[in-house]
């Protein structure tokens, strides 16, 4: 009898244990759902981990104002966000708002995203992402790709950035600066890194993006259409682009050219060791943030951007919303839309611009950032000298699995210029053959 009692007690314990586990697991996965049903919680997956703390601050402000709790989940640093989101989708754990980086991403979620064309913010911006489903992408910042320069060094070297209008003037400017390297305290003329493991996006997406768009009107899709038509490249334009890449290889920091990291690249630029750097406006936040000490020591120099003028007459820089926030259709749509509307308004924009270093895509926003590149971008935008980012529409994994490596091989010298062009074409066709 005693034995039986003991066994019953044990069974009871096991059962409560199981039920307890079950309920905690249940509330874990259902908590969001049940709470959001009462309209109190929304979840946002953010793809810019560098502005995590600013977004959390905004979420707090929003909760104070409206009582809706916004959970910020930041991903970045090499995580494939789309892959992670798919896992969330499979496990029925979708966030209400999540980041999408371009056409391929939006196509994946085709039919699952909320059309926000009835929202107030839509009329306040030109940067929203629109496709056959309607307005599905909320823009939150503007970024620019151009050849960033250290204005102080260029001035000391006697090079006027406005004089660089084509390949010859660019080569001449590089040569001039190179000859005065020692007196200017430079390690190299240009901080161009073609490392294929962690920086493939810099070469494969951004630099190659200049081939697709430099000098074109914002809605001109000539070269991206060619590329997406089975991976075709324009021979003449690409040869000019290859010349520029060759020039960068020659004047770059040889010890870091194929092995350097993003951090080293930005730190060296911020310390005044490079006159140019092949990164876009987002480095402004790093220069004034993580690398603030080095930047101050180097004299808090002025920064600017010139077009990647690989053909004579190219006079635009590439600006775009780098990614958008989309609202999941089966999530808490009303609350999510209300939050996004609030994000586009003055209070939130002030935090985003002043603290996160964003350049607002909203016309009503009057706050100007003290980011080193803000002025340049404003100048180009008001002069109408901007092109779009059509590289966002390239095939999946194009930079990471295909061309990033070709840039690295060109940089390390295992491919010459002709080899680079030939291989680039071959690899591009292979990427599009899938």
């Amino acid at each position: 009898m005693k034995k039986k009692l003991l066994s019953m007690v044990l069974v009871g314990l096991m059962a409560t244990g199981l039920v307890a586990c079950g309920s905690s697991a249940g509330s874990g996965s259902d908590g969001g759902g049940s709470e959001s049903a009462s309209g109190k919680t929304i979840r946002l997956v953010n793809g810019k981990i560098e502005v995590d703390s600013q977004l959390k601050k905004l979420a707090e402000m929003y909760e104070k104002e409206t009582g809706t709790h916004v959970e910020i989940e930041s991903m970045g640093g090499g995580i494939d966000i789309q892959g992670e989101l798919k896992a969330y989708y499979q496990s029925d754990n979708m966030p209400d708002i999540f980041v999408c980086g371009g056409e391929a991403d939006f196509n994946n979620w085709d039919g699952l995203l909320q059309d926000m064309s009835d929202q107030k913010w839509v009329s306040d911006t030109d940067a929203a992402f629109t496709n056959s489903d309607g307005t599905v992408g909320f823009p939150y910042t503007t970024e620019a790709i151009g050849l960033a320069y250290n204005a102080d060094i260029l001035e000391k070297a006697g090079v006027d950035p406005a004089s660089i209008t084509g390949p010859e003037s660019m080569a001449k400017a590089f040569e001039t600066i190179d000859s005065k390297k020692d007196e200017l305290g430079l390690t190299a003329v240009i901080g161009y890194f073609a490392e294929p493991v962690n920086l493939y996006w810099s070469t494969g997406n951004h630099l190659f993006g200049t081939y697709l768009d430099e000098g074109l009107d914002r809605d001109d899709t000539t070269y991206i259409d060619m590329l997406n038509d089975g991976g075709k490249l324009d021979d003449k334009r690409f040869a000019a682009f290859a010349d520029m890449a060759e020039l960068f290889n020659k004047y770059s920091d040889q010890s870091l050219l194929v092995s350097g990291t993003y951090d080293q690249q930005i730190l060296n630029f911020a310390s005044g060791k490079y006159a140019f750097v092949t990164q876009g406006s987002w480095i402004g936040a790093t220069i004034t943030g993580d690398d603030a000490d080095a930047y101050k020591e180097a004299g808090s120099f002025k920064c600017g951007m010139i077009p990647y003028a690989f053909e004579e007459g190219i006079d635009t820089i590439l600006t775009n919303s780098p990614s958008w926030w989309a609202v999941y259709k089966d999530g808490n749509v009303a609350e999510a839309e209300a939050f996004l509307q609030w994000m586009s308004e003055a209070d939130a924009q002030e935090v985003l611009v002043k603290e996160a270093g964003f350049i607002s895509p909203y016309k009503s926003c009057t706050v100007v950032a003290d980011d080193p590149f803000a002025q340049t971008i404003t100048d180009y935008t008001s002069a109408g000298k901007t092109s779009a980012w059509h590289w966002l529409g390239m095939t999946d994994g194009y930079a990471q699995n295909y061309v990033g490596q070709v840039f690295a091989d060109f940089a390390s010298g295992s491919l010459d210029k002709d080899g680079f062009i030939k291989t680039f074409k071959q690899v591009t066709e292979a990427a599009y053959a899938q």
């Binding site: 249940g26 092995s259 390390s412």
Partner: protein, 353 residues
Amino acid sequence: MAMGNKQKPLSIALLALGLLSLIVALALDFTGSDSVFRGELLVIGAIIFLGGLYLYPTQKHHKKIINFIFLFPLLFCFAVTVVIPFGLGLFYSTTDWNGIRMTQFVGLKNYAAMFTEVSFLWSLILTVLFVIINMIAVNVIGLALAVLCTSNIKFVDFFRAAYFIPNLIGGIVLGYIWQFVFNNVVLSWTLKYFDYNSSMLSKYNTAFLAIVVVYIWQYAGYIMMIYITGLTTVPTDVVEAASIDGATAVQTFFKIKFPMIASTITICTFLTLQSAFKQFDVNMALTNGTGSVTFMDQYLTNGSQMLALNIYNTAITKNNYAMGQAKAVLFFIILSIVSIIQVRVSNKREVEM
């Protein structure tokens, strides 16, 4: 049987109740209901069902029922975490699934396509090469370290711990640490002595070598621990007898100890074989598969990409989940063949011993 008569209706009632709650719980789940109770309902239903099964009055099948009840939790976990996902994987590998939805069945097209994909064949060959090199290198070095750490040198415990520690560091962390070493320290040497500006990680052949080195560094200590266990189980009287007979240390090792630890060698060989085959984290952190190579007249950009990483990349970065799944099925088949051989061989040895 008097008790049985009373028990039977109770048992049937419990069985019915349990089954009903199981069905309701599953139905709630499939219809996407937000009911928070469906998890509890499922567990309670299963317990009631098993209770009913236990109380069912039968002499003939009682033992089987008890066995089933005891095995149930394990079988359930195995089904949920292995059998069902595997079945789903097989299913998805015959579709055009992209991780979100599928539009059509493609039959065995993914399987056919994967063998015409030169970059995949390269990964396959590279992996086999990696396995062979490591199976030999890790075991030789591991055994050498084990001999060192069972000898009479000073600070033996310190060495044992020191060799084992790399194994305690996660592969990703280790990969990044070594990436720093290769990209900064080794590069500055090659630049200074050979005027060679590329890092070891930028060429596929040197990158492969780098992965091998890091893998040995990580895994040899672990294998060493197993060899130490093997070496300490060699009876001292045999070793003593050998030394009385005038055998040198080398002779003692090759003629006495080595045959005595044959079973340990089998275990270690298969352990390294399996783990080298599944190499993923160090590969990803160190080179992420980069490095260019010309193979079968094609320029490939995945010169240092092993099989597991190839599968991951196909699914995640190339957004082709169905193809990744098909490759994973092949990966599974290869690994299970290896495992079956391993079990066979070790069983045979145990009989011999």
